[in-house]
Symmetry: C2
Subunit: 468 residues, 2 copies
């Protein structure tokens, strides 16, 4: 609970209309897109500029009040759930695209800008901002930065991190730092820019972002490939890339996901196949068609049931939208949907998909798998019911085994969703005690009072490895 | 000076043959490629594996002995000059390419691998490692990582940082951490990988590196464009990119550099022009020729004196080699060559080149300018004589003004050479007190006894801004 004195000071900083602590508002911001995590904040505030944020952080640091910076709360790791109470900080007033610089190919934006709004704004100028998380219609750039969001175009274009040239951030001690610049090269000191990207709001509050843009690809082409055999689909993925072709997108959906997505999107997806690859390539027209031909050949060599090009951009867009709606579609099936993010080297996808299916069978669970196959970034998704304690225990055991397997294959516990509170017990599995210790030293250096999004990334205790 | 007890322990760790403290060896490792910096180390040691490095760091941490990890010492920021004595650590025994993984497009290497050896090894498999610092014939991957080296292909392909997927490092406390993996996406905790890239050996010793490879471009084409007017050359650079073409390489040389390089390389470079752009594009043949045509058109619109394509790969290679030899060529002219690294947004290149020439005139100095124009990364190079104290003072004032101007234009004090000891007094100009404080907090967290490359990056006192 905030004291009346603190409340008064916060209202002074942001104005009465930007300070909310009604039960309704606290309830609305008590959770994010992550199932089974909920906790009431003490207040929800919407500062108007970095100076207000600076004052808020100074006050919170002095009073040791937790602060949770939050974009649209679409993350899936409980990264913005205020699990230790305190203040949820919104960027509703800081949502402007400040500049699109066509000469230096950069955009300067405030953290509250919606990802798709930025993408559309730069595309109008013939420019391209590639990171496209599935939540891009509502996610914010600030949220994308905090989580280092990926997306469907990550295989060819990389993730959010690869497009952040610089940023402005307020640190817990109230210092404002500016990193980077409109510069392709800058080695003046440690890479604070990339340290902040993916730091999940645990080191400070990002107040301005300088993004790199690239020229808009001339054309784009989309292909749907069906397989009888999941392994053959996975082998195709590896084979396309070892044939020196890097498609923009190389998505995998298994049969259960396909059925649910078709039921939701009703675009005539072929639900008789056991696995589907959605493949896109962009670039100059002659190269796109050449690449797509080679890809089709590889897929046919791997006994694809069918290889079909989208005939129109509408058809291609319907396929992409269907893929992006996988989580929403799956979420309709059962009260609780737990979407995970285990990631492996792409040469291990086939092995990982097989392991997920075996683990699902072992624990008698309904797990669908889809994801960014080209990145080795799979989203095994469990349809369950949080009220069923016995089943939830099996779910937890199953995901622990999935993480364990991913790490054993040279992978990681999270490819693009972040650690947050949800995966914090598993961080040590990936990094070892020494790695976690090094990260905690950074956290301690920036935020000694642990006010920035406390409880995230670092667990109180690490989870013991399940014996498999 | 090391005590005889410490010496005994070090010899026990690495073996007698890998511990050297003769005057000759100490002299050889008392300097790097940076003029005017020299200081004797107490010993030079060559560990054989990470376990030995772990023991060395534990010992040095306990005894508070400085350690300077050193590749080939080609850096230009006094980054590997042992200015506080202690131990120079070499990677002569850790110079293996451990794996080239064609399915996941990665290379795993030890830090002592020579950059060009790696480039050649992966090209034999039809793969491509783009970072190509001018020193690549002798520089090591470990050195490239510590300095986040750039190169001629940075415009299109980025710098070393963009190709490091993971690494193994020994921390000053003896902990060994492993970051990243063969993964396009990995958000398990803070980005320690990129924190280490460019950290100049101040946070720990990198002992293994996992690098990203890309498919080898099919073809490459090279063009030389001459200008009467330097401004027109600079304008061409901006205009090419705002025409949505990103060439692989877009190099600028001014007339004085051109004359010296031609005198050195004797390949018939046209020394009558006031500025030259060396432009390369790679990719599929049809795209390369289309891009080169558009580039030629832009250059002609900007009143280029001539636009000439290299007729053969030998001719193109001669041009590239000539450009890479700029430093060597200039270094023959005068006893001391100070090559700087001021970097600006590419839209400001013309203004920056003009400012450099004005500053050179003001201080009556011989400054040539060349560099990676597409990146805004210029190398103003002063031909001088360190024994002439009065002139050296003018040199220092001139470079301070150049840094000041670069920052005023939204640039940085170093694009690809690093801060080291040489530019440490200027770091605060770029980052502000708050930025330097944040970086020092990281250094303190990792290396509380300041054993790792002490005196680098952070100056005892920051330099006062010269009033301009």
């Amino acid at each position: 609970m905030l004291t009346s004195e603190v409340k008064k000071l916060l209202v002074q900083i942001v104005g009465q209309e930007n300070y909310k602590d009604s039960n309704e508002m606290r309830l609305v911001y008590s959770y994010d897109a992550t199932p089974t995590f909920q906790s009431l904040p003490d207040a929800v505030i919407s500062p108007r500029n970095k100076e207000e944020i600076q004052k808020i952080l100074q006050l919170c640091n002095e009073q040791q009040i937790p602060i949770v910076p939050r974009g649209s709360g679409t993350n899936l790791c409980a990264g913005t759930c205020p699990t230790q109470g305190g203040i949820v900080l919104l960027f509703t007033h800081m949502d402007k695209i400040l500049e699109i610089d066509e000469e230096n190919l950069t955009a300067t934006v405030q953290p509250g800008v919606i990802t798709l709004d930025l993408i559309n704004a730069v595309e109008e100028r013939g420019l391209f901002y590639p990171p496209d998380p599935s939540s891009m219609k509502i996610s914010t750039i600030g949220g994308n930065i905090n989580e280092n969001s990926g997306g469907l175009r990550g295989l060819k274009y990389g993730v959010t991190r690869d497009y952040v040239l610089g940023l402005e951030a307020v640190l817990p001690n109230g210092n404002i730092i500016r990193t980077g610049g409109k510069l392709a090269k800058d080695v003046a000191g440690y890479d604070l820019t990339r340290l902040f990207v993916g730091s999940e709001g645990t080191l400070g509050v990002v107040t301005e972002v300088l993004l790199k843009l690239v020229p808009m690809p001339e054309t784009k082409s989309t292909m749907l490939v069906l397989y009888e055999d999941i392994d053959a689909a996975a082998r195709s993925v590896s084979k396309i890339i070892s044939n020196r072709i890097i498609p923009t997108t190389l998505e995998f959906l298994d049969k259960p996901t396909l059925e649910v997505v078709e039921d939701f999107a009703k675009i005539g997806l072929p639900t008789h196949a056991n696995a589907v690859l959605l493949i896109e390539q962009d670039g100059p027209p002659e190269i796109v068609s050449r690449d797509m031909e080679k890809i089709a050949m590889v897929c046919r060599e791997e006994q694809a049931l069918s290889v079909e090009m989208a005939a129109t951009e509408e058809e291609a867009d319907a396929l992409r939208t269907a893929r992006r709606s996988a989580l929403s579609a799956l979420a309709r099936m059962k009260p609780t949907t737990i979407l995970e993010d285990a990631t492996v080297p792409r040469s291990k996808i086939s092995e990982m998909v097989r392991a997920i299916n075996e683990i699902a069978a072992k624990y008698d669970l309904n797990i669908c798998t889809f994801g960014h196959a080209g990145d080795g970034n799979l989203h095994p998704t469990c349809l369950t019911d949080a009220r069923n304690e016995e089943e939830m225990e099996r779910v937890e055991h199953a995901f622990a085994e999935i993480f364990d397997k991913a790490i054993a294959l040279g992978g990681t516990i999270t490819g693009e969703h972040g650690v947050g509170e949800m995966k914090s017990p598993y961080l040590e599995w990936k990094l070892g005690k020494e790695g976690v210790e090094a990260m905690k030293a950074i956290k301690q250096a920036f935020d000694p009072n642990n006010i920035m999004n406390p409880g995230k990334m670092f667990a109180k205790d690490s989870r013991k490895r399940v014996l498999v």
